[in-house]
């Protein structure tokens, strides 16, 4: 349990540091943040007035504590461009992102792990060859390219699926698959090698010598051992999903958090950009923390006595 506590403290520290970094980075481009509010024809005085009003002239640390203080009281502020309530943006788009994220998560682990197991159990068969080819391709193809290819094939040529939109099952398929592809490919590969490695361990022979059935030996023991490295990298996979969501949501016009963030950055809508950067960072850090805790659970060797 000590380990979990240490990871929690570590996560909080990283969260604070990265919030400062995000805050600072957005401030660096602050000169133009005003542009979102004022017409292009505005004079230098008018711009300065807006800067003053937004508090952009205060010392950095004051701005930071001021902002954090307001976050904790639930005052998330409004968009500079359309005055939209940031809290409402979060709930609306958050829901969409959650749908997409969960779909991708299920593909990465719910499909990746069984495929990897199948490949390992049918080693050197056509199954194995096919699955591993798919996995290599999934890792090699950049996801924006895959997105374009998928749209071209399934939307334009075959017309089976819509190329963009939200938020029914049909619209979900392409973005979810594109988002999950690389993580799924990596999970397949990792599961296969972890299974094969553990199948060769001495303990497998011991379990067989105890008269356990193959389904127990492989499905329970080998699998539980193979899960250790998979879970240890689950945080990385989830972080990847969050990062790619920026690209994928934009390409497929999926109105999620990533899309909000990308648009906000493009429009220099700094309160929105700042807040959603923090949200995404928090999600990534939280999922890493969860994966760490999960790793401690699946790997008893980390637990002392």
């Amino acid at each position: 349990m000590k380990r979990v506590l240490a990871r929690t403290v570590y996560m909080v520290i990283v969260l604070v540091l990265s919030s400062i970094a995000v805050f600072y980075a957005i401030r660096l481009s602050g000169g133009d943040a005003v542009a979102a509010r004022v017409p292009a024809s505005a004079s230098a005085e008018e711009r300065e007035a807006v800067r003053e009003q937004l508090g952009l002239n205060d010392p950095f640390h004051e701005q930071y504590f001021d902002y954090m203080g307001r976050l904790f009281t639930g005052d998330l502020g409004n968009s500079l461009t359309n005055n939209a309530d940031i809290g409402k943006l979060l709930t609306d788009h958050g829901r969409n992102s959650l749908i997409l994220g969960v779909a991708a998560f299920v593909l990465v682990f719910g499909v990746g792990i069984p495929l990897g197991m199948l490949a390992s159990l049918r080693r050197n068969s056509w199954w194995d060859g096919g699955i591993m080819t798919f996995s290599v391709a999934g890792m090699a193809v950049p996801n924006f390219w895959l997105a374009l290819l998928a749209v071209w094939l399934f939307a334009s040529v075959l017309g089976w699926l819509p190329s963009a939109g939200c938020c029914g099952p049909k619209q979900l398929v392409l973005p979810a698959v594109v988002l999950a592809m690389e993580g799924m490919a990596l999970t397949v590969r990792m599961t296969r090698s972890a299974m094969l490695e553990n199948l060769n361990q001495d303990f497998v022979r011991t379990l067989r010598s105890g008269g356990l059935s193959e389904s127990k030996v492989i499905g329970r023991h080998v699998f539980r051992n193979a899960l250790v490295p998979i879970v240890s990298l689950a945080g990385l996979r989830i972080g990847q999903i969050v990062g790619y969501a920026l690209v994928v949501e934009t390409i497929f016009g999926w109105p999620g958090l990533g899309q909000v963030l990308v648009n906000a950055v493009l429009r220099r809508d700094y309160p929105v950009a700042q807040f959603f950067s923090l949200v995404l960072i928090t999600i990534v850090l939280l999922s890493n923390w969860l994966a760490d805790v999960g790793y401690t659970v699946v790997n008893p060797r980390l637990r002392r006595t």
Binding site: R205, G211, E214
Partner: protein, 335 residues
Amino acid sequence: MTENGVNRPVTAPLLSIDGLRTMVSSRRESFDVVRGLSLDIYPNEVLCLVGESGCGKSITALSIMRLLPTPPVRVREGEIRFRGEDLLSLSGKRMRNIRADSISMIFQDPLTSLDPVFTVGDVIVEVIRAHRDMSKEEARSLAGDALAKVGLPDPISQLDSYPHQLSGGMRQRVMIAMALVLDPDILIADEPTTALDVTVQAQILDQLVKEQRERHMAMLLITHDLAVVAAVADRVAVMYAGEIVEQAPVDELFEDPRHPYTQGLLRALPKVSTTRRRLDPIPGLVPSLQMMPPGCAFAPRCPHALDRCWTEQPELATDRDGRVFRCFNPQPFAG
């Protein structure tokens, strides 16, 4: 257990290996590592199997358990009879029923031999329930008894230990408990103390012998250590290059070894310091199993080799004194 003068066990064997040939076959190579081995295990005896590293002891044991690493290793020929059945032709399911219940095995390295992510209690319970119709609770209490019996301190709470939380000696006790929990007829122990600290080796060996005595089970003990053989064996089988070259009751073997290889092993013994009692190399090369010479496998190292030894295979035979060995030209042992 011995008949006057002839010194052969009189009961029927519990397990009979007959003409076992086990081969390694991969795309690159294919050769026999066990070459027509025959060996009987009698009820209630400790039979030691000795021989140099690589001669096929573990492969023989794993052939009995049908736990060979296949591919590349598999049985090519032979029979292993146990209770009127040939183990080698049993269905997978029947064989699983025999493992742990009738024939158990423990292995050299107790750390790698235990599943690291399950508690020892979980695994023992699983083994019990694979064979007995028992509730988890009943099985758990049986598992606790088994741990207590092999001398593990605080056995009930050790049920919830993971292997990494136990010392090497304790792990091997867990292995023994797991192997014996269902009271098998035969225990195969493949160098059960080699991986342990010298200080606990004797304790573990004592535990094994104690269990063997109390349970009246047969034990096939594979070892390198001739001092261990002298201390615990009833009978000894000496293996060389995939074959049994001599087998005898332990006293006969140490007093009057017949096969030149056995003689070499015993002769090498007193010459080394008392702390090193492993089998010491006898001068000369072991023929490679990939290219066995047509004659006696020991010929290249044998001080008594005749011409026919290079062309003709001696058979494992019983001589006038009732001694069993494989040699054309046995000479009296000059220790």
